[in-house]
Symmetry: D2
Subunit: 150 residues, 4 copies
């Protein structure tokens, strides 16, 4: 298979979660079904919040949820049952009420997938809310780049 | 493949939901992954409530949920991508705060799976609650057999 | 909630699949978990192939699979249990060995999500293959626009 | 919540897999959807094969799969997002072409669920096959009890 160059940028604040592919994630082509990778992104995001911001159950405990508003993922290689996927995640940018996470998934040296998710801070009724000041103060220095114009 | 005799009892109040197997339900053996069938039971149960009792969103709107307390399912045949599965469901028994649904899943003449689920009525905090009187009054005549001793 | 303008372009060849949101697709925020929408796209894509090209099991029967190489989806509104989502899909462009499908998901008048998926034709070993001539001949007139430069 | 006595029998050969509940496993009642637990059983089963028999990818590499023929699971307590579930599994019995695994799932001291799965050895076409001699020789001493009459 052709190697795909890594998109992991120097200077980003990473977390990496290792996931062992279960049989129930595979499909009749013998590979991981593409929709499952979207879930893998969440697994790594949760670890990033643990390690670099605030565990998500504590954010949720303050009445704030991160609603996903955009997903984009490019698939470069098909992982299979029992593969170990290393899902790396970093904060791409943050705004007053939203943030963007970036991802690279690898099996050993092979880049399996790469992409981004955007999240809006919402309250328990789903209304967009400004991120709490202490969250913004912590997140801003961790972002890889300035937020693009909305 | 060997035929498995139908377990659909005469006298039960049935609903049947036809499900077209999506690719994402298959696994690397080329068949529907066994855990997905548990979800198929729920799809049929929702239709049964529509047709014979009260739509679930209205039951939930009264603050009652049916928490699943037991699942048992026997698998007789492996369905594949694009198969049409007819999931038949009926009320096996009902008690003051719980009920048992029975299921038979078929592809055409072939019995794919059969089983039962038991559900307890709970409030929004998860505490077991007696079924509302009007629910019990409606459900009791629909049950196939008396509830077994607890 | 704010209305989001429809992105359904005039002149496209549509299929629409109506999906009733099951309870198992919701999450603890009370809404459909965002990863599940990626599966909804597949449900509609299968119907589009039925209606406008060749049923997928027949394409697969010729030893061709459509491997997903890119997913992008914008979420505009949160669907809930028992909502009916109309998933519209059309062929955006086609190339010699790949194609792009576009989607709009609505609950009634409300646009729930919109996006694209890109697929590469692969053989059963996962190697990229040119689309069979008769597939290309059928698909090209259905595409909404010329394929972008690779 | 009421404590449920452990069903872990003395003398069994256990493996235990710790699972951190992801947000995507929860449903709109705020708890893990019951169908997901069936997947958790598989995660622990894979670890048991690693630790006590042969990794499943190697069994599958010999052309043998373990098709699930029965699932039964009792739910005692509702796990939530970010809970850690310890899934213990042991070999209940083994026959010439099938075996039964038993499970207990706990969050700390609380028994969350308990149950059994039965699996038939099948070849890649899905036909039941006798277990290879070396598998039987290894598994028989690990079984907790003699196989029940078929």
């Amino acid at each position: 298979m052709p190697k795909h160059d890594s998109s992991r940028p120097p200077g980003a604040t990473f977390s990496t979660y290792r996931y062992r592919v279960p049989f129930f994630d595979t499909d009749a082509m013998g590979v991981v079904h593409h929709a499952n990778y979207i879930r893998y992104l969440e697994l790594a995001r949760i670890v990033w919040l643990d390690e670099h911001d605030l565990p998500y159950h504590r954010i949720a405990g303050q009445g704030i949820h991160y609603a996903t508003t955009r997903v984009e993922l490019d698939y470069h290689y098909s992982a299979r049952f029992d593969d170990r996927i290393d899902i790396s995640v970093w904060l791409d940018w943050v705004r007053g009420a939203s943030l963007c996470m970036a991802y690279e998934l690898r099996c050993g040296d092979v880049v399996v997938a790469s992409g981004h998710t955007v999240h809006a801070a919402v309250d328990t009724t789903g209304r967009v809310r400004r991120l709490p000041k202490d969250r913004l103060a912590n997140l801003r220095p961790l972002a890889l780049r300035p937020a693009p114009k909305p």
